[in-house]
Amino acid sequence: MILRVDPLQKIRLQKRVEQAHQDMVSGNLVDAESSFKEILLETPDYSEAMHGLGVLYLAQGKYDVAEPWLRKAVEAEPENPVNWNDLGELLRSIGRIDEAVEAYKRAIDLAPEMTAVINNLAVGLAGQGKTEEAKAYFYKAIDIDPNDPHPYNNLGVLLENVGESDEALICYEKAVMSKYDFGEAKQNYVDLLQRHPDKLLESMGRLLKEAKTYLK
């Protein structure tokens, strides 16, 4: 039997969850928490509220409280890739990399084109020491969305770690060019050039060429 959700109920719940997420982003954590809890009191099986509560605790570093909520969310709505991805994020945060990778893979099964999840999986795989596999996923993420700076930045870190600093530098450049205010990528770029000042001119040349193309 297909369970039918009343669209009006769904839209009202969604709006409340959205508001709670906004509260979370603007730092009103108490409001966000009580909103999610209220929704769950009224609709105990509403996975988006379970997920919201899990993410809220994850953001606060309350991993032990976050994990049950994120697990409940994937149980309640196993077809939602975001639930699996965020469970993966939690597990990776507490160092349970193997479980995190499994969670990311479940998410990718559900949403094969979701670059954020592919990127996270690649990070997880890198954490497991599976460098080639990780690289392959980063490249896949870049293929799907060449404007997403995160896979470039993470790939850069991976390449730097395995000694491929020229390629790493190019990755950082691309990350920064995609998102000029991407602080982490900028820092990685600067750090690498400090370690390898000889690459500065070459890098500047590339950036200048890119800038000219852009200006044209």
């Binding site: 039918r4 009343d6 669209p7 009006l8 109920q9 769904k10 839209i11 009202r12 709006k15």
Partner: protein, 679 residues
Amino acid sequence: MTPLQQACLNRLKAMADANAAFFELNMPDHALLLRSAPKSTVDISEQGDLIVRFQEGGSKSLATNIFEMEERLKEFECLAARPQILAYHNLRTYVENPTHGDIEILHYSHLDAEYPNRARRHFAKYYPDNRALRPYPSYGEDEIPLLIVFGSGMGWHIPRLLTKYRIRHLVVIETDIEAFRLSVFMQDYVLLANLAKERDTDLIFIVQSEVNKIARSLMGAMLKSHGLPQFFIHGSSLFYAIDEEEKANEIREVIMETLWELFFGMGYFDDELITARHTFENLKRNYPILLKRKTIPDDAVAFVVGSGPSLDNLIPIIQAYGDRAVIFSCGTAISILYKMGIKPDFHVEKERPSVIEEVVVRSVNGDLEFLRDINFIGLNNVYSGVFDLFGWSGMIIKAADTMGAVLVEAGMPGDMVMSGQPTVTNLAIEYALNVGFNRIYLFGVDMGSKVKEIHHSKNTVYVDMLPEEDELKKFLLIQPENSIVVPGNFGGEAHTNKILAFSSRMITHHAQFHPHAKIFNLNDGAKIEHAIPLPPENFAEEWLEGLGKRDALNFALSAFEEKSFDVDEIKNKLLENVDAFIAKVEAIVTREQSSVDDILDKMTEIHYLTFSPAHSGDACALLFRGSVARLLSMTYNACGIILDPDESLAKAESDFMNLLDFLHAARDELALNVDMGMN
């Protein structure tokens, strides 16, 4: 006049000529009106201003008109101040156990009570008060599903409105023919038509000086249009380009009444279900079906007897001349005829409920022998128990009816189905005219009464003797109020109601198709156009001997013949059609929707499936159109007042699910009841 003034004037006159040619080609009726309109014209005044010069003298500056119209357009921009027609459903009045109330007992299903109730319950659950609702309906900024413009004025306002607003249906009503004629100097109607086409606006232009005829013009235009759902009347915006407030209000009332009449006149699934079951029962019994016209030589006489108040005084005439005319007893008239010792040759029934069997039996005090000597004519929807009461029974297939459409598809000649609406006397008269009676006398067919409160002959006493709680009594006492005043048959005025007024129009309509037949109205009720008023005291001198009663009766009966239908095949075909219909509706409602505009599109498409000329003969259109329109109407009401656009979409989605649930439940009921009819 300067050369420039002359050139301007020439340009306006050229515009009028071009418009005249346009109307000639596209709207010949309007062209005719233009030709007959007063010859007012545009001119240049001595001061050099452009003016309207009226035929009867006097003039008016055109510049004033432009400024006035600009002011009105500005006022119209404010939604809160914009005049609208409000025709709310009460969306919160749900009940715990929905039924058809007093007439529940007459139905085989109660889906028409159940599903609207579900929609209301749903609305009340989410909107227990008005906090999340608008005070007036809105379907988006600048989105007007139905705009009614009163007056063509000088024409400027119409293209302005068309370009500023997204108008789905634009109805322009002009009651002043002179104003319409003047507008052709100013308004480029070719451009206007093209603009409407480009904006995807269904433009209905009604020029009608008689307010009471606007309703029919509008109805005719709607039936030709591309799907103007009647329920769009709710929240329709009004633009006044005329100053006569009283007239505008009168027109407004007429429009509202027309659209709601159309809306409520579309029938209910629960009624059509009775028709389906009874028709299958009757087909299994193989009653002869009316298959021939004009079977009677030209001089036969029919007495059509209804139970109107005049019947009491006319009984002596029937008693005196009844042996020389074929007597048709219509509905409850049989009780009076029985009481007076008159045995009719035909008894006629058209109503669906099975309780009619009990009504007929009680009408003759259970004297079944009396009935055995009478011939019976019933529509296909009449309960088979009624057919079985009589010695001989024949069936007439009903037009504009689900089963009528199904049977035509299965081989029933389309020209032999009959409207027989709205009252049983209409059916008797239509039948009598069609088989060739050319002198038809109406007894107790009052179509109204001199005294407002009186509907029936006082001899229909058995109803009064029933206890108040008697379901039969409740059914028989359902009578609309006599709130309409019309000319009396013998002068003066008579009081009538909508049904009887419609009935009278239908008699006129059918009489027009039989110009050789004479219909004599002996009743002191409402005048019937095309019927000859005949005071009872003049009856004898007007009387002409016709064909002998026995021969006339036999000729009349010979119009009926046996015709066998493959009922299994008909059943399968009907259910296949229903499945296909549901699939079409499902395809429409499950389509992605992201705006109220999408919802309106869906509603219009579904309405088109059930009501457009292209589908007027579809069994499913007839089966579902009333019930579907009612459910959609509630959705339309709700979506217009819900403040949050996302919630508006979600409410529509819920309601569309409810609609689909209704259709599936209806399909199940139909299959069940058809099987019951067949076994």
